[in-house]
Structures are given as C-alpha cells and as structure tokens.
Amino acid sequence: MGNVMNRLENVFRDVFDDDRIVISENTTAADIEDWDSLEHINLIAAVEKEFGMRFTMKEVSGMKNVGEMLDIICERGK
C-alpha cells in the first residue's frame, strides 16, 4: 500500500509540476491549487497509465478524495 501511495504521489508531482506535493487519503481537489476540472482529466489519464488500468465513468465522477482513488487502484491496478 505504501508503495502505491508513493507511486501515486509521484504522478501528482509530475502532473502539477510541483515536487513539494504530499498527498494523503484525505487529499481532495481543494488541497491542490492547480487541480481543476481540466487538470483532473490529465491526472486521471496519468494515473491510469501508471497503474495499467482504467477507471469507469462512474468512478471518475464519483471519487471524493485520494483515498477512494487509492481503493480502486489497489483493487484493479498493477
């Protein structure tokens, strides 16, 4: 789990070009300045690529925070 969190954190850092970003299960879009609806698309695509999986449309619109994203990754990610 810790390893998945690290990989996810690196994806966040790349997408938002900010090495100081630290994420937790409670992180939401409100916590990261550039995380708007457009960057969300990039973030999702980058996460999917990193973990070799796809989110369903329902999941993409339903995720409330990083914790929920993490749950889906742990279930289906590689």
């Binding site: 997408v15 070009d17 457009l38 698309i41 990039n42 695509a45 980058a46 690529k49 619109s61």
Partner: protein, 593 residues
C-alpha cells in the same frame, strides 16, 4: 528537445506538460512571437498546451486565443471584439466528425437529398472560412474529418450515399477542392493521423461523454505535433537540409570493408529492399526543394563508389554537398552549412549511430531523429514533419539546381586573382521591382525565414505583404539574381515607408546564398533611386540586433549612411541625406523586368 522528437512517449509528454513548458521557457533561447487563435468544436485546452510546447521547441513562442466550447462557428462568423483585439497571425479550426451537423442516418433519403445535406454542411464551413478571411486576413488551418466509430451499414457504409463514412469522404474532398483553389488555407489531416494511430485509440468515447474530448489524451501529442508542423512551416521554420550518413544508414554494411559488391541494397534481401526504399524516400525530397548532403566517415573515393553503385537510388549528383572523410561529423556539418550559407540548425542529420547523433546535435543544433531499425527509418523521419510543405514556391522546386550551380561557382572562384575579376566573370543580372502577385508567397516566406542578413527581422504574413504592396506610402522591392551558372530566384526584399520627405526602411533582408555578390548595393541603389523620384530627402535605416544578424551590424555604414544612435541593447539607427547622392558600386546588370 529529445523527448519531443518522434517516436515519443505520448503519456509521458501529457503527464509532464507543465514541466516541459517551464524548461523550454527557461532555456535562454530567443524565439519569435506569434498569436494563434483556436476555434474549437470540442474541449481543446490540452491540445493547445501541447501545441505550445512543440512550437516552443521549434523556436516559436505563441500566445493563444480559444473560442468558447463548441462556439467555433459563431466565434468566427459573428462580430467578435475579443478576436479582433487579439489580431491572430493564424486561425486554426479544430473540429472532428462529432461536429458534423447536417448528416442524418435516414434510409429514405435519395441521392439528390444526400447531395443537399452534403452541400449544406460544406457551406457552413465555407461561410466560416470566408468570414475569417475577410475579417482577419491571416492563414487558416482547417482539419478534414476522421472516420466514424461505427458503421450501421457495415462495409456498405463507405460507398452508399446513406453511410456516414461516405458522407465524410465526400465532405473531405470538398475541403480539398477549397484548399487547392485558395491561398493561405491549409488542411490539418486528422483523417491520416487518426488512421495511423488507430481509430479506436484515437476516439475513446468515454472521454467524449465525460469531458467532451473528441480524442483521447494519448493522441493529443500526435495531433499537436501535426498542427505545430503546419504552423512552423507557414512561419518559414522548416528544416532545409537532409544530410545522411552512408554505412548502415543509406545502405547495409561498410563500403570501405565490404566493397561496392558487398553492401546491402537493392532487391536481393529484405534489408536491401528497406535500404532501397529509404534511398528513394530521401531522393524524393529533392523535388520539394530540400537540399541533400552526405556526412560519412569514409574515404571520399569509397563513398562515391558506393553512391555510384547501380543498386543505390541516390547518386553523387543528387547531393549538393558530400563530406566523406575522417573529420568529426559535427565539423563536417558545420562546414557544409558554411558552404551552403545555411544555419546548422536547419539540418536534419540521419545516422544509425547514437553516439554520432548525440555529438552532432550537441555541437551544431541540428536535429537527429533516433534511427534504430532500418524498417523504421522512413516512418521516423516522416512523422517528425521536418519538411512540412505549406507553400511550394518556384524556387523550392529549383533549389537543388541552384545549389549545384553554387558548387560550380566555388570551383570557378579559385581561378581568379581578384574578387572583382571573379564577380565580373559571373555575368550577373538582376531584376528588381515592386512586389507583384506572383512574388508574394516567396516574399512572405523570405521574411519569415531569413535570420542572418536581416536588418529588422520583422516577420510578415501573406496578408501583410499584400497590404504593403498595395500601400501608396510603401516602396516595395524584390530582387531576383541570376548569373552564367543559373538563377537564384528572389533573393532580397525591401520595404520603405514614405512619410512626407522622409523614408523609413522597415524591412531589408537578403538570402545568404548571394552574400558578397554586391546584390545588397544594387537593392539599396534602386530603393534610393525610387525614393528620390518620390521627393524623399532623408532616409532612415535601423539595425535591430538579434542573436543571428550580427553580420549586418555595420551594413548601413557600407551604404554611406551615418550612425545617429547606438542603443545599449545593440540596436542602431542610421540616416542618409539623399541630396548629392552617389551611385553605389556593384557588378550586376540591372533590368526593369
């Protein structure tokens, strides 16, 4: 930037967009600035960001305008103060088959009605283009359409007039007819890009339903590179030279070791066929005005023997420059650039050896795509779009003949005692006159690609050049030069703006191919002559310093102007009083037309 050279990792590029942009903007390069308007039929923010990155890498820094989501038509056709104020240098319309409105799937429609649907759709776009043309007078880039994701009629969909595939194919053909009969209108061929990427991967429906992305993020870099290539080509930033290594690049094996009989080329083996096709691909570039060169570690005789082999499709005479020796390839490339009067960065260097590519790119700034497997050579070079053809001037078609004539001139110049004797022996003739309609594409091209002999480095669109030629207050001049070895076509351009009894030289450039031939004196002489006729008493000239134009820093001094002011940034301002002017000296016979 290596990451941005095809084949690239699309997902990595998309993920790292912010970082790439930051790195490029901070790399210290001087770029020229342009304004591009995107009129979009779907969410295009990432397409714009990615296009920006590719353009930065190509030396162009752009500011962007983006239409409201799916308001590409309304934004273009109706009065639009924002777009007016933005004053675009290029307008790009980004649509996909999702934006086609008039087509309906209806099996009761007859041929005539299908034709009417098609015309209605076509006219919607034509109205948009005409409106943009009239209001903004700048180049327009319009995509054709990608093929549909499903086919209710199956294979019948493509030929039956009820099919969407059939509709799209016909609509695309209408677009091409418009493109072939209108200047400054360019097709962004997404039909090809989507096909080569794979339609299913290109248009992932989930991205459309969730975000109104007509194509999936992974394809965006492919599309953006394609767009950036068209834009850079319009602004004259294409590569100009294709310089190739020989052993294991142009043919298989090492000619010095294996002998001409031993090299792999021709129809005998699979690899041989690959090399032959690659040679043919390289040779085809000659026809679009790309200069060919050889850069090989070989004895000169061995290199020539290889090229003369009947199984090799490119011959020594196809190459304007052949560097086959044991010097470092970076030095060879720089020497070749000097001989051709072109910048090393306008070269594409082909070599199978990664170490050679590395040193050549690092030392000279030339581009060197990664060539690993012979069967991928063509695709790799082709997809990078180094030579994207937007305008094809008469000069482009004859460029190689000009460089071959240059080769002969260099030989000749060795036989004269004085340079003046040499100049006289060339029997040079020039035709210098105002811009005529046929000159406009070439003149525009020159204003965008001349860097070294360019006093003000002002870049012009075709519309601006047309406007200058029609402006009563402008004296426009373009000069063609020829000598006993051949013609150079249009090599120099001037624009002088007359205001009362003063004239300001807004633009003065010359192709470096004709340096040290006296053409600059002939041009200035003609300009001053015409200025005098118009009653001009004082002429002002400016030198605006760029990293590339130091060769003309003191040019006005040679033309007997006096320096009025030198600014701390290196710019200088000059003036000349026309009273009692003396004719300048040169060895060129001037004709009116």
């Amino acid at each position: 930037m290596k990451e941005l050279t095809y084949p690239f990792d699309s997902s990595e590029l998309m993920k790292n967009k912010k970082k790439l942009r930051r790195l490029l903007l901070n790399d210290g390069r001087t770029r020229f600035k342009k304004k591009i308007a995107f009129l979009c039929g779907s969410t295009a923010d990432d397409i714009i960001k990615m296009t920006e990155i590719f353009l930065l890498d190509m030396g162009i820094e752009c500011e962007f305008y983006k239409s409201e989501y799916n308001k590409f038509w309304e934004d273009g056709v109706f009065d639009n103060p924002h777009l007016n104020k933005f004053a675009p240098d290029i307008i790009l319309i980004h649509t996909t088959n999702r934006n086609i409105r008039s087509y309906v799937f209806d099996m009761t429609v007859d041929c005539k009605q299908a034709e009417d649907m098609l015309s209605e759709e076509y006219r919607r776009f034509e109205t948009l283009w005409e409106s943009l043309r009239e209001k903004y007078n700048c180049p327009i880039i319009q995509n054709n359409f990608d093929m549909p994701l499903y086919r209710v009629l199956g294979n019948r969909d493509i030929w039956d007039h009820h099919g969407f595939g059939n509709f799209i194919t016909k609509l695309n053909m209408r677009f091409y007819e418009y493109a072939s009969s209108h200047e400054s209108f360019y097709i962004n061929d997404i039909n090809y890009i989507s096909a080569q990427y794979g339609l299913e991967k290109w248009a992932d429906p989930s991205y459309w339903y969730m975000y109104k992305y007509a194509l999936s993020p992974e394809c965006i870099p492919e599309l953006s590179l394609n767009i950036a290539n068209i834009i850079k080509s319009i602004f004259g930033r294409n590569k100009k030279v294709l310089m190739t290594d020989l052993d294991n690049t142009l043919w298989g094996g090492v000619v010095g070791d294996d002998g001409v009989e031993g090299i792999e080329t021709g129809q005998e083996t699979a690899a041989g066929e690959c090399f032959s096709e690659f040679q043919e691909y390289i040779r085809q570039h000659k026809q679009i005005g790309i200069v060919l060169g050889v850069n090989s570690k070989n004895d000169h005789e061995n290199a020539l023997a290889g090229l003369e082999s009947p199984d090799v499709a490119v011959k020594p005479d196809d190459f304007a420059v052949i560097k086959a020796n044991w010097e470092p390839k970076s030095i060879n490339l720089e020497e070749a650039a000097g001989e051709l009067n072109l910048l090393p960065e306008s070269f594409v260097f082909l070599d199978d050896n990664p170490a050679e590519r590395e040193i050549v790119t690092a030392q000279t700034g030339a581009s060197a795509p990664c060539l690993d497997n012979i069967h991928e050579y063509i695709r790799t070079v082709d997809r990078n779009g180094y030579f994207e053809v937007t305008a094809l001037s008469h000069d482009d078609l004859e460029r190689n003949d000009m460089y071959m004539a240059d080769k002969q001139r260099r030989e000749t110049s060795k036989r004269f005692d004085s340079y003046e004797d040499y100049l006289e022996s060339l029997e040079m003739r020039a035709v210098i006159h105002g811009f005529e309609p046929a000159d406009i594409p070439r003149v525009t091209q020159l204003t965008n690609k001349s860097n070294q002999f360019n006093l003000t480095t002002r870049r012009y669109t075709q519309g601006e050049i047309e406007a200058a030629s029609a402006d009563e207050n402008c004296i426009t001049l373009c000069g063609r030069l020829e000598d006993k070895f051949g013609s150079y076509g249009i090599v120099s351009v001037m624009i002088g703006r007359v205001d009362g009894d003063a004239m300001d030289i807004e633009l003065w450039l010359m192709s470096c191919r004709v340096l040290r031939r006296g053409m600059e004196y002939a041009m200035m002489d003609r300009l001053l002559e015409q200025a005098s006729v118009r009653g001009v008493k004082e002429v002002k000239g400016h030198y605006y310093k760029t990293p590339k134009n130091s060769m003309v820093k003191e040019l006005y001094r040679d033309m007997v102007f006096e320096k009025v002011l030198e600014e701390p940034n290196g710019d200088s301002h000059w003036r000349l009083c026309l009273q009692g002017r003396q004719k300048l000296k040169y060895f060129i016979d001037i004709k009116e037309s």
